[in-house]
C-alpha cells in the first residue's frame, strides 16, 4: 500500500512527508549498495576484457583478448568442458531429484522425514567435500578402486566433477521440484486414471507435463551452480580444465588479469542465460500453483512403495557416504592403510589453523545479520511498498545469482583495490562480497514470507498513524522473524562454506576455514582438509541446532527454507 492520501485518517502531513523521504532514502540506499558492490566490479571486468590496460578510450578498444581465447585451442576447450560437465550434471541431477521429490510427494513410503533431512545435508558442508570424499573412495589409491576391486581406474577428470556436482546440486534441485510437485493438483492424475489411463501414461502425459516449469527451473539452476563452481573442479578435475579454473589459472599463473577478465565474461554469458531461464520460468510456474489445500495421497501399491523406498535409500546412502567418508578420513591414521583412530589431523599444519575457523565464524555471524537484515528490507520494499522504480530494485536484488562467485571476487580486486576504499584488505570486503553473492535467495525468501502478512494489519497500523519505519520495526519484523532467522542461517551457512567468492579476497590478516581446506588439500594434507571440513560442518550444525532450539518446532524447516 502506498502511504499517499491518508490525510483523511488524521495522520499529519509532515510525518507522511518525512515517511516518504525515509522510504525513498532507504530504497535508494539499498539500490546504490547493490549497484556499487555488484555492478561496478562487473563493469570493471568488462572494461578490462575489452580495453587495453582497462583504460576506457576508443583507441584502446580491442577484441584481442577474445581472439586469443578462441584462437588457443587448449583455452577454448575450457568452454566446451564447462558445458559438457554442466549439461550432464543438469540432466542427471534433475532426473534424480525429480523421482526423489515424486517419492516424497506422491507416494506413501515410510521415512519421508529422514529422506528429506538427508537430502538437504549437502547444504551444510563446504562444496568441495564431495570431491574430497570421492578421492578417498575412488582416487588412484582409493578405498574402493585400488583396494576393494584393485583396478587401475581413478575418478579425476570430467566424471569426478560430474559426480561431485550432482551430489552438491541435488538439494537445490530437490527444493524446486518438491515445491512444484506438492503444489500441482494431484486430482488431475486421479481423473486420468479413472478415465482408464495406465500408470505410465498418467506419469508421462499428466505428471511430467504439469511439472514442466519446475523441471526447467531446476535444470537451469543446476546448470548455473555447476558451471560457476570452482571448488570441486579444482580438487577433483585433475588436468580437466573448466572456465572457473581457467580464470584462476590465467590470473595466478600468468598474471594475465585481462585474460582472466575475458574468461569471466565468457563464463557470465551462459550463467546469465541460465539465470534468465530460471527467472522467466519461476514467474510462469507461480501462476500454475494454486493455493488449494494438499489433497489426500492414496496408499501406494507395495511394488511402487518398495521401489521408491529402495530408490530414496540409495540416493540418501550416497549422500551419507560422502559425509561419513570425510569424517572418517579425518580421524583415521593413514587412509586406507592404517585404520587406527587419531586426532593428529586436527593439529592443522597450516598458518591459519583454528584461528581461521574462528575468523570464519565471526565473519559468518556478521554476514548472517547483515544479509538477513538487508534482504528483509529489500523484500519489504519490493513486496509492500512498491515505490517508483521498484522493478529496478527487484532486478538488482535477484541478479547476484547470475554472477559466478569467482567473477565477483575478481571484480572486487579490480574495483576496490585502491587506498581510498578503506574496507579493502579488511574482513569487511569479505562480509560484503558474501552478502551480495547470496542476495538473490535471501530476497526471494523474504518476499514470499512478507506476502503472507495480511495487508489489512499493515493498513490498520498506517491508519493509526504508524510510519513506514515503525510499521517495519513493530509489525513486519516481528511477523517475519522466522524468515529473518531462516535467512540468517542461510547467509551464515553460505559464508562458512563458500569458496569461489572469497578465494581472491582472503589475506594475511583474514584467513577463512573454507579456503584453508583448499590449501590443505593442495599441499597434500588431505586428512587435515577432511578435519577442517568436519569442523565447519560441526559449527554449521551447532548453529542450526541452536536456532531450532530457540525458535521451537514451528521452524523445523529451517534448512529446507534456506535452501529454497
Amino acid at each position: 500500500m502506498n502511504t499517499s492520501g491518508k490525510e483523511a485518517y488524521g495522520v499529519s502531513a509532515t510525518s507522511l512527508l518525512v515517511d516518504k523521504y525515509i522510504l525513498t532514502g532507504v530504497t535508494i540506499l539499498v539500490a546504490f549498495l547493490l549497484v556499487f558492490f555488484m555492478l561496478f566490479p562487473i563493469y570493471k571486468i568488462l572494461v578490462l576484457s575489452f580495453f587495453k590496460e582497462g583504460v576506457l578510450t576508443s583507441e584502446n578498444f580491442s577484441l584481442g583478448n577474445y581472439i586469443r581465447y578462441f584462437g588457443t585451442p587448449r583455452i577454448a576447450r575450457s568452454l566446451y568442458n564447462s558445458f559438457y560437465v554442466s549439461v550432464v550434471t543438469m540432466a542427471v541431477t534433475t532426473i534424480l531429484a525429480f523421482f526423489f521429490a515424486y517419492a516424497l510427494t506422491r507416494t506413501t513410503i515410510r521415512g519421508k522425514g529422514f529422506f528429506n533431512t538427508v537430502a538437504f545435508m549437502p547444504l551444510i558442508a563446504p562444496s568441495i567435500i564431495q570431491a574430497l570424499a570421492l578421492i578417498l573412495l575412488f582416487g588412484r589409491n582409493g578405498l574402493i578402486t585400488a583396494h576393494l576391486f584393485k583396478v587401475d581406474w581413478s575418478i579425476y577428470g570430467a566424471w569426478g566433477i560430474v559426480i561431485s556436482e550432482v551430489l552438491y546440486c541435488f538439494p537445490h534441485a530437490l527444493v524446486i521440484l518438491y515445491t512444484t510437485l506438492s503444489a500441482v493438483d494431484t486430482r488431475l492424475d486421479e481423473a486420468a486414471e479413472s478415465l482408464g489411463a495406465s500408470a505410465l501414461q498418467v506419469f508421462w502425459r499428466v505428471t511430467v507435463p504439469s511439472a514442466k516449469y519446475g523441471l526447467l527451473s531446476a535444470g537451469a539452476l543446476t546448470f548455473n551452480l555447476t558451471i560457476t563452481d570452482f571448488g570441486n573442479p579444482v580438487v577433483i578435475g585433475g588436468d580437466y580444465n573448466v572456465l572457473a579454473t581457467e580464470i584462476y589459472a590465467q590470473v595466478t599463473n600468468l598474471y594475465r588479469f585481462d585474460l582472466g577478465a575475458t574468461v569471466s565474461v565468457i563464463l557470465l554469458v551462459p550463467s546469465v542465460a541460465a539465470f534468465m531461464v530460471n527467472y522467466y520460468v519461476t514467474r510462469k510456474s507461480f501462476a500454475l500453483i494454486s493455493g488449494a489445500a494438499r489433497p489426500f495421497i492414496r496408499p501406494s501399491r507395495p511394488f511402487r512403495k518398495w521401489g521408491f523406498t529402495i530408490y530414496c535409500s540409495l540416493v540418501s546412502a550416497s549422500i551419507i557416504m560422502v559425509f561419513a567418508t570425510v569424517v572418517m578420513g579425518s580421524f583415521v591414521n593413514v587412509w586406507p592403510y592404517d585404520w587406527s583412530l587419531t586426532l593428529k589431523h586436527y593439529r592443522f599444519p597450516s598458518l591459519g589453523g583454528y584461528s581461521a575457523i574462528w575468523t570464519s565464524f565471526w565473519i559468518s555471524l556478521f554476514v548472517g545479520f547483515l544479509g538477513a537484515f538487508f534482504t528483509l528490507i529489500a523484500g519489504y520494499i519490493v513486496e509492500k511498498k512498491k515505490p517508483f522504480g521498484v522493478q529496478i530494485l527487484y532486478l538488482l536484488s535477484v541478479m547476484p545469482a547470475a554472477i559466478p562467485g569467482l567473477v565477483l571476487g575478481l571484480g572486487y580486486i579490480l574495483a576496490f583495490n585502491r587506498p581510498y576504499f578503506f574496507f579493502y584488505g579488511t574482513p569487511w570486503i569479505i562480509v560484503i562480497c558474501v552478502v551480495i553473492a547470496n542476495f538473490t535467495l535471501g530476497t526471494l525468501s523474504s518476499i514470499s514470507n512478507i506476502k503472507n502478512i495480511d495487508p489489512s494489519i499493515e493498513e490498520a497500523a498506517t491508519s493509526l498513524g504508524a510510519t513506514s519505519i515503525s510499521t517495519f520495526v513493530r509489525l513486519v519484523f516481528p511477523l517475519s522473524r522466522v524468515a529473518f532467522f531462516q535467512n540468517f542461517v542461510y547467509f551464515f551457512m553460505r559464508c562458512m562454506t563458500t569458496i569461489s567468492a572469497v578465494i581472491f579476497l582472503v589475506s594475511a590478516t583474514v584467513h577463512l576455514a573454507a579456503i584453508e581446506i583448499i590449501w590443505l588439500d593442495n599441499d597434500g594434507w588431505t586428512a587435515s582438509a577432511d578435519a577442517m571440513s568436519t569442523c565447519v560442518i560441526a559449527i554449521v550444525l551447532l548453529m542450526l541446532g541452536l536456532l531450532r532450539l530457540v525458535m521451537g518446532k514451528g521452524s523445523s524447516h529451517v534448512m529446507g527454507g534456506a535452501g529454497g
Binding site: 587448449r74 588412484r140 595466478t252 556478521f366 582472503v506 589475506s507 594475511a508 599441499d523 597434500g524
Partner: protein, 344 residues
C-alpha cells in the same frame, strides 16, 4: 509472548557475541608478510620469529609462487603486504624490473655472498631448494621398475603413467625443473626464441610417461608417498619430511644436474609498516633464522651452516647451470609454450 522474549534474548546474545568478536575486526599495527615457503617449514620458522621478535605482530599468508605474484601485482596501487619472504628469485628479478620492490640492505647484508643477492640491494636470498625425484620403494618393487639415475632414464616406457610432476605455471618447483631442462639440453638457449628450444623435444617424450601435471610442487612427492604414483618429480626437503613420517620413499637427484632455485626476501614498495618490515628482514637473514632454515633446506646462503643430516651435502651435488635473469625475462613465454603443448 514467550517466543518473543526468547528471541530478544537470542538477538542480544548474538549482538554481544558480535561486539566481543570485535578484536577480529580491530585494526592493529602488524607487519604483513607474504611467503611461498612451504607451510610445514614456515610454521617452525614463525615459532622462532615470534620468540625473537616479540614486539612484532606477524600477519602472514602462504600462497604458491604464482598466486603470490598475482596478488602483489593486483595490489600494486594499494599494497597490502610489507615484505615478501622466501620467494623464487626468478620472480623476484621480474618484479624488481616491474618496479614492485624497494631497495633495502638488511643488517648482515655483507655476510651473504654476492651470488646470492641483488647487486643493487633489492633482494637477498636465504636458501636454495633443489629439484629431486621421490620414489615410492613399494610401488617400484611391486612393478619391478628400475631405479632411475636422471631425467633421461625417465623416458623408459616402463614408467608410463607412473610419473607425476608439477605444473610449471602454478608451481615454482615445476618451473625450475622445466627451466633447468631447457638450459641443459640446448646450449644456445639464450640466443633463440623459447619456442625453438631443443629441450621441448625431450619434454614431449617425457610427457608420454607423465601420469599427471599437478598444481603444487610438493604434491608429486606426497602423492607418490601415498602410493598413487611410482616417481614424483618434486624437491628435496619434502622428501626428508616424508621419510621422517615413515613413508616408503627414496630420493634421487638427477645425474644430469639438479635444477635449483634461490628463495629470497625483499621489501615491497609502498609498505605500510616499513620499520617493522625492516626489523623482520634483518632477522630473516640473521644466523639464528638461517640455522632454522638449514634444518629443512639443502643449503642456506649464510656460509658455514651445514644442511640437514639426512640430505646429501651441497658440495657433493652436481647442480644444473641456472640462468635466473634469462628465466625471469622468459618466464611468461616458457609457460605459454609449455601450456599449449602439454595441457589437455
Amino acid at each position: 509472548m514467550k517466543n518473543t522474549k526468547k528471541i530478544s534474548v537470542l538477538v542480544t546474545i548474538l549482538f554481544l557475541c558480535v561486539f566481543l568478536g570485535g578484536p577480529v575486526f580491530a585494526a592493529k599495527k602488524p607487519v604483513v608478510v607474504y611467503t611461498s615457503l612451504e607451510t610445514e617449514e614456515t610454521v617452525e620458522y614463525l615459532k622462532l620469529a615470534e620468540k625473537e621478535l616479540p614486539d612484532l605482530d606477524i600477519k602472514i599468508i602462504r600462497l604458491s609462487t604464482g598466486e603470490l605474484g598475482a596478488r602483489m601485482l593486483a595490489e600494486r596501487n594499494n599494497p597490502q603486504a610489507d615484505l615478501v619472504w622466501g620467494w623464487a628469485v626468478t620472480n623476484m628479478e621480474d618484479f624488481r624490473d616491474r618496479g614492485l620492490l624497494e631497495k633495502y640492505k638488511p643488517k648482515g647484508w655483507a655476510n651473504i655472498p654476492d651470488k646470492f643477492k641483488d647487486p643493487n640491494g633489492y633482494w637477498a636470498a636465504i636458501d636454495l631448494y633443489m629439484a629431486a625425484f621421490v620414489l615410492n620403494t613399494e610401488v617400484m618393487a611391486k612393478g619391478n621398475l628400475p631405479k632411475p639415475k636422471g631425467w633421461n632414464d625417465l623416458l623408459n616406457p616402463v614408467y608410463e603413467g607412473k610419473l607425476i610432476m608439477p605444473n610449471p605455471a602454478s608451481s615454482g618447483t615445476g618451473f625450475l625443473q622445466v627451466a633447468s631442462l631447457l638450459e641443459m639440453l640446448d646450449p644456445d638457449y639464450a640466443k633463440k626464441p623459447v619456442k625453438k628450444n631443443t629441450g621441448w623435444e625431450f619434454l614431449e617424450k617425457l610427457d608420454k610417461n607423465m601420469g599427471q601435471y599437478i598444481k603444487s610442487g610438493s604434491k608429486p612427492a606426497k602423492l607418490t608417498a601415498a602410493g598413487e604414483y611410482a616417481i614424483g618429480c618434486s624437491f628435496a626437503f619434502v622428501y626428508s619430511s616424508l621419510k621422517k613420517r615413515g613413508s616408503p620413499v627414496e630420493m634421487v637427484l638427477p645425474e644430469e644436474g639438479a635444477g635449483y632455485e634461490l628463495e629470497a626476501n625483499a621489501l615491497l614498495k609502498g609498505a605500510k609498516h616499513k620499520r617493522e618490515a625492516k626489523k623482520f628482514l634483518d632477522w630473516a637473514i640473521g644466523e639464528s633464522a638461517m640455522r632454522e632454515y638449514a634444518k629443512f633446506k639443502l643449503g642456506v646462503t649464510l656460509p658455514g651452516i651445514p644442511g640437514p643430516a639426512d640430505l646429501p651435502q651441497l658440495e657433493t651435488i652436481k647442480l644444473a647451470p641456472m640462468d635466473f635473469p634469462w628465466q625471469a625475462t622468459n618466464r611468461g613465454e616458457i609457460l605459454v609454450v609449455w601450456q599449449d603443448k602439454f595441457l589437455r
